[in-house]
Symmetry: C2
Subunit: 319 residues, 2 copies
């Protein structure tokens, strides 16, 4: 359950007096925050605590994560010279990641750790817009207006994300998840032309590591077969599409992950049970399924309800 931490009192306590980016660069805090939902819920895997823009910060971008806003980039990237100036990421840029994963694999023992990184389109959107965006208008304008600049930017971001994920796998992550959070803002035609070649290069560079590659974005019902073809072993499905329908779209060569609506957590206990059952029912005939929310945990979620969801899934899948 992505972003499970932010609804936990123990998370808010450990974060007191520490900015998001500080927390992401302190191995002890990364390990502690990653472990918190595992300890509390007994989930079957941990997902590394970090932020999608961390590797960009690590290679020198002047950006900050503003509480209540998200990542804010001082000088939005819209010109060739800015892209030319972008460096590469090496393990020495993120020593705290290697150290945190070392601490985590020791503590997690048999429980797998999922590494994570943002996919090039989503990182590009943050860099071009200068922050979170509802409509991605500057990103799309650049993409449509200057295809060379667009592909140059995407190629650099692909290298950065790939290097960042390789660091995580080398340090002990046993799976990776590539988040293309905002790519659902594109049509399939645009995805194929402007995004897919880069995501494909990124995911295939990870094939040699042998770890499962999970690929996810919100609002990507129309893009699922393309995201599979980009080289995913597991495709995440948001809550808008029943898993059985998603399976019809992607076939059985990939495992599906998802897709309880995070808003369901705010319902009555019996309604939550019904909705969890509906997800499991929809997944019954799939060749493989990883139960998850269809999006991140909402900050005001009640941890008791999330605990009940995990218990229900474990009880039903243990049968």
């Amino acid at each position: 359950m992505r972003q499970a931490g932010r609804s936990l009192p123990e998370y808010r306590k450990v974060r007191e007096g520490t900015t998001m980016l500080e927390a992401c660069t302190r191995p002890d805090l990364v390990a502690e925050i990653t472990m918190q939902p595992v300890r509390r819920y007994g989930v079957d895997a941990a997902i590394l605590f970090s932020d999608i823009v961390l590797p960009l910060k690590a290679i020198g971008f002047d950006l900050d994560i503003v509480p209540g806003v998200g990542p804010v980039v001082a000088d939005p990237v819209r010109r060739h010279e800015q892209v030319d100036a972008m460096g590469e990421l090496t393990p020495a840029d993120v020593p705290y990641i290697t150290e945190a994963i070392g601490l985590l694999t020791a503590e997690l023992a048999a429980t797998p750790l999922i590494g994570f990184a943002g996919a090039p389109f989503t990182l590009a959107s943050y860099l071009v817009e200068g922050g979170p965006s509802k409509n991605h208008e500057n990103t799309k304008a650049l993409m449509y207006s200057d295809e060379n600049l667009w592909h140059a930017l995407m190629a650099k971001l692909t290298d950065i994300s790939a290097a960042y994920l390789h660091v995580q796998v080398a340090a002990g992550a046993s799976a990776i998840q590539l988040f293309d959070s905002w790519v659902g803002a594109l049509s399939a035609v645009d995805y194929v032309r402007y995004v897919m070649p880069h995501s494909q290069r990124l995911l295939s560079s990870l094939a040699e590591t042998g770890v499962p590659r999970i690929h996810f974005g919100v609002n990507t019902g129309e893009l699922l077969p393309l995201m599979r073809d980009a080289g995913a072993d597991v495709v995440g499905v948001d809550y808008r599409l029943a898993l059985a329908d998603a399976a019809k779209r992607v076939g059985d060569s990939v495992v599906l992950q998802g897709n309880l609506d995070p808003a369901v957590i705010f319902s009555s206990p019996s309604a939550v049970r019904t909705q969890v059952d509906a997800v499991l029912d929809s997944a019954r005939d799939l060749p493989g399924h990883i139960f998850n929310l269809g999006h991140g945990v909402l900050p005001t979620s009640d941890p008791e309800v999330l605990a009940a969801v995990v218990r229900q899934v474990h009880e039903r899948t243990a049968r």
Copy 2:
């Protein structure tokens, strides 16, 4: 082009010193603001200037439209007694709408005026959340947890929206558009159970008027055939799905409307032309097509670019 006004200097000028809700209740302003994009762009139809929550304000809800935020409801609706207390809408609640449409039909002459209202789900979301919401968690929690209360609320909102649209048609609107802006946050299964019966009752109550009924929501690729079956003559398509693909989903019994990405307007002139051509190409074999953006006009759009889009569409469709 919905919300075309907000990018126009003449709109900002005429709105100076007037709140959104005041502007929506002054017939002279409603008529003037509705006419502005028609005069500037020479589009083929006008769409009534108003706000989706206006009929709720008109029947006594304590709500305001806060600049930069959107509609804010003082006492969010979550209990049976609040729904029981909800009144009906009569023409006497919105005399300024009747008057504004009278002014408009006189000025518009042969150019059709499209009336508009929010669909029950989207209105319910504003009332239950108390304002705009990214995740609609309170709305969905109510929907999943108390189905009786949910349907009671939706039934009241259906009556209100239907009555509001009947006022508009009686006053001279020659088509209506029912906006279910947020319904794309639901899966098809939930749409069928919690929304469709109400939208169906609403749209069929308008059948007797004989005016074309346009139905639109963002992110509704998965819901298009259901929105058609709810009783639409025209289904709006957002920019995520090519019109040709949307047509495969809905068949040829409805006309499609859309779907240039509003973000395209920020691209270079040649990129804008290419994207407009792509929409028209995708619509070429459709039995009917209304060119439009795939979502509202973004406030920082350049009116000159929008004017060029209209010219291009007119030139190409006049051939």
